[in-house]
Symmetry: none
Subunit: 545 residues, 2 copies
């Protein structure tokens, strides 16, 4: 491959992105996201700061059992503490224990942060940068050096800021990254400063021994993407950002915006075309995992990004999409959407069927029937982006390939909460009646919540017929309200992730009654688990390798 | 006033902004917004397209009865129809009837749109531009000319695009506006094209008879703000945009981001300092009117824009805000916010207390007690980062400032689902017993889900004592499982956002029983709403003036 126009993508969704207020990722969420980013073709995936955060330590252990295929997993850390030996610094020991080939070290560029924040001397800060990078290099690590507060530091004390980068360069950093940590810099300033620094540091892109340059921007001025592009125009070849622009305060540079701008408009190479076409799906999957509503108006990947209103406009687009669309939505896996009448989607259905190992022909009327059903359900609030198991069941049903496990006759759930003792005592009781193979089963179970009681009663009723379900476990349970305006009577969407030790799958349920929505997702979770056992060739949703 | 560095602000929230999918403004909403923008010091307020939209006709009538104080109200329209006299064109008659001093006319710059869209000749399009502007000038109007699809047109056929602008200039347009209608242009292209056009049109900013230049950008490439700034750097003196960046597809340039960048960072004059300090309030007010959730992560005006996490970081900001803040939040009417999490130290607690208007001394043992309680609760799965109202209640409780509204004696919830008819019939019934002011209240309510039934029963029991709660509404409801390993018996965390028309607040509940967790969050939501009403000095989250 000609790397002359290559841009390296560095994702920090799992570290800087997770700083977003209200975003909370479990250990399993982080593993799932890392593998999705790997699949999409991101070069560097920053996993966290081991040592600063016990969950990040566990994440790196878990990733050692279940490594990435192509991407480099990166552990993040600060320079050593003032007046301490690098080899004795606990944080540096923790980053080595993470067992990654690549590490990212952030150091201070701004004199004010050295004297007021670190409370040390400008000389000691340079020693901290040098010792840390040299030590990590001596331990066989490759080093990305994040120059924190670069632009503010440069404006405040140009000479000192340059000294910090020269120190990192001489200590053997593979990459030098300009960080606009406070997000206050504007594109014209980025361009000018990067241009000056490239000359001052005597960086020669042709020289393999010269460190490469990266940029890390925040969106506090609403220009994170433009700032990164300004850096690239001046010779930077790594962009750091997050999926959906998640991050502290106003977020980081949004990779879902940066990548198509770089590749489709500026002629750089970031991803293979087929990987780029997964961008929209990745954006939505990660917002579901994060349990944050996707931004419908996000550039490129938002649901409204290629939405057209009005008759003339629509027919103009149909004749020549170039008239009203800045790029082809298919290139990034999004689609044109006509706000009144819906169109297309057949190709998606076919592609999806193929991925499920289902043979479907586009002239088959079932194909259109599936599309209609999908649109009806999405209109009701279902969302299949992150619930592929439910979508496969829907497709098999339309094709007459779905076996009903049982028929629900009804259920009742009863919850009690009595106050008076110190901790409230709570209990739930569920009764369920189902017909399995023509036999009525009436069962009852207790749980410490209504969903758990219902789940247990259902399993009890099915266990004699399908003993395999004893191995199925609920791995995650997420609930979202769909229409805030209706208050607690609003529709709820439940996503349930199930697992059986080897595989994981996600199902969806929607209802104004949270119990009913949960019930739908639980039932489909059990059904899909049994389907997986039947079909030994099944590989699509496998997470572990 | 020295106008040498003045930028004219042109707001199109009421016209282009209203194109946003899901946004619907009533006539009264539009009038309220127009007056708020006038108060804030916007120069031009585009009200709509009379003639194309009957509601916009009424809007201009209504504004004639209730005129703006400082701003120019602007009516919007296309050039005349092909092969028709301007004086006989109904749309132009409608724009005159709107009775504004200023009108904005949009015309085609892109040859493709003339031949394929308008289905007319390139010559006729020039005549349409000339006739329309000359006619409106002859009727005493001042004219802003929006060159639609300017950048795409210029790239496709430079000579023709320039001819359209020369025609508008010669016909007497006061302003020529470069529109990136499809939003596909990047900042470096904007800068280059504007620079070339200024020379080609021989625009002399010193010459009062020369038209001035404006820019209108869309966010399809995520660079609408940077694009407008690039235009300004090249000599443009009017920026068009919308409040909160509302607009079709991915939105228009966000004035709430543009204005502080221009004025606080680039040294241009847009607003008086006192007007600029209304920016955050205006942003939130307009999102309330539009009934859209405010974007907490919006640059400058978002709730998280100046939020700080982590002890060291927080103490650094307290000492010198410049270290972690790109501007002073007060300048645009926002405020610093300390985010509470288990990484917090005492300094966070103190800063938080201050923001709640609670007087707390760091040597007070209560301070440490609050920190311990916070950590215990976060260990149990509570999360206060996104639930500040619950945190304030916790703090007031520790200080003996919390009044218990009622005592819960117990509740029962019963759900039934009966199968057999086509759609499952579901219902929930809740009974609750509470003691309020020493009086036992036993109430029952139905809902279409257990949480809704419980919420209704509780409100019924409290309504006689606290009639104000009738105004409280649930704005959002989120549920997350905390420990996937325990399946459906796992602990759940519920976040509930409540609102009362003016303010929003979020509360949290945690339990293995989803109903109990929801109950906790609902109760605290009601309690906090009442607290807000009691404290008339409360201004932190106030939206309206």
């Amino acid at each position: 491959m000609d790397t002359g126009n290559k841009i390296w993508l560095y994702d920090t969704t799992l570290r800087d992105g997770a700083q977003r207020e209200g975003l909370s990722l479990s250990l399993d969420d982080k593993v799932t996201i890392a593998h999705q980013l790997d699949k999409m073709g991101i070069s560097f995936i920053e996993g966290g700061w081991p040592g600063a955060n016990p969950r990040d330590v566990k994440f790196f252990w878990k990733m050692q059992e279940n490594p990435l295929t192509h991407a480099e997993l990166v552990a993040f850390c600060s320079t050593r503490r003032p007046h301490q030996k690098a080899a004795e610094d606990q944080l540096l020991q923790a980053i080595l224990a993470a067992g990654t080939r690549w590490v990212t070290i952030f150091g201070k560029s701004w004199d004010l942060h050295v004297t007021e924040g670190l409370k040390t001397t400008l000389e000691e800060n340079l020693a901290m940068i040098r010792d840390t990078i040299e030590y990590l290099r001596s331990q066989g690590r490759r080093v990305i050096y994040d120059a924190e507060h670069w632009f503010d530091g440069y404006k405040n004390n140009r000479e000192y800021a340059l000294l910090t980068l020269k120190t990192a360069k001489n200590a053997g950093a593979d990459w030098l990254v300009f960080c606009d940590t406070n997000g206050g810099t504007l594109p014209h300033e980025i361009a000018q400063i990067v241009n000056e620094v490239v000359s001052a540091l005597e960086i020669n892109p042709q020289d393999a021994d010269s460190p490469k340059l990266g940029i890390h921007t925040h969106n506090d001025s609403g220009t994170a993407v433009a700032n990164a592009l300004a850096g690239v125009t001046e010779g930077v070849t790594m962009v750091q950002g997050t999926i959906n622009g998640y991050g502290e305060r106003c977020g980081n540079a949004n990779l879902c915006t940066l990548i198509p701008n770089l590749q489709l408009k500026m002629g750089y190479h970031c991803l293979e075309a087929e990987q780029l076409s997964q961008l929209t799906q990745t954006s939505r999957l990660i917002s579901e995992i994060a349990n944050l509503a996707p931004d419908d108006h996000a550039p490129f990947v938002g649901r409204s990004a290629f939405a057209h209103k009005g008759g003339i406009h629509v027919s103009a687009v149909a004749k020549n999409p170039l008239t009203y669309e800045h790029i082809k939505p298919e290139a990034i896996g999004n689609q044109r959407r006509i706000v009144i009448s819906d169109q297309s989607g057949l190709s998606n259905i076919l592609a999806k069927a193929k991925s499920f190992g289902i043979d479907l022909n586009k002239d088959d009327p079932t194909c259109r029937h599936i599309l209609e059903r999908l649109k009806d359900l999405e209109h009701e609030g279902y969302q299949f982006e992150a619930a592929e198991a439910s979508f496969e069941l829907l497709m098999r049903e339309a094709l007459g390939q779905r076996q009903e496990l049982f028929e629900l006759k009804g259920f009742q759930v009863h919850c009690d909460m009595l106050q008076g003792i110190e901790m409230p005592y709570s209990n739930a009781l569920a009764t369920i009646k189902v017909a399995v193979n023509g036999r009525d089963m009436l069962e009852v179970a207790e749980g410490n919540g209504p969903v758990s009681a219902l789940d247990k009663a259902l399993r009890k009723a099915l266990m004699n017929f399908y003993p395999e379900i004893a191995d199925f476990q609920l791995a995650d349970y997420k609930v979202r309200i769909l229409d805030g305006g209706s208050g607690t009577s609003a529709k709820t969407r439940v996503l349930i992730e199930s697992r059986n030790g080897k595989e994981r799958w996600t199902t969806v349920g929607v209802s104004s009654n949270i119990l009913e929505a949960s019930y739908q997702a639980v039932v489909e979770g059990i059904e899909y688990g049994l389907l997986l056992l039947q079909s030994s060739v099944k590989t699509t949703v496998t997470v572990s390798s």
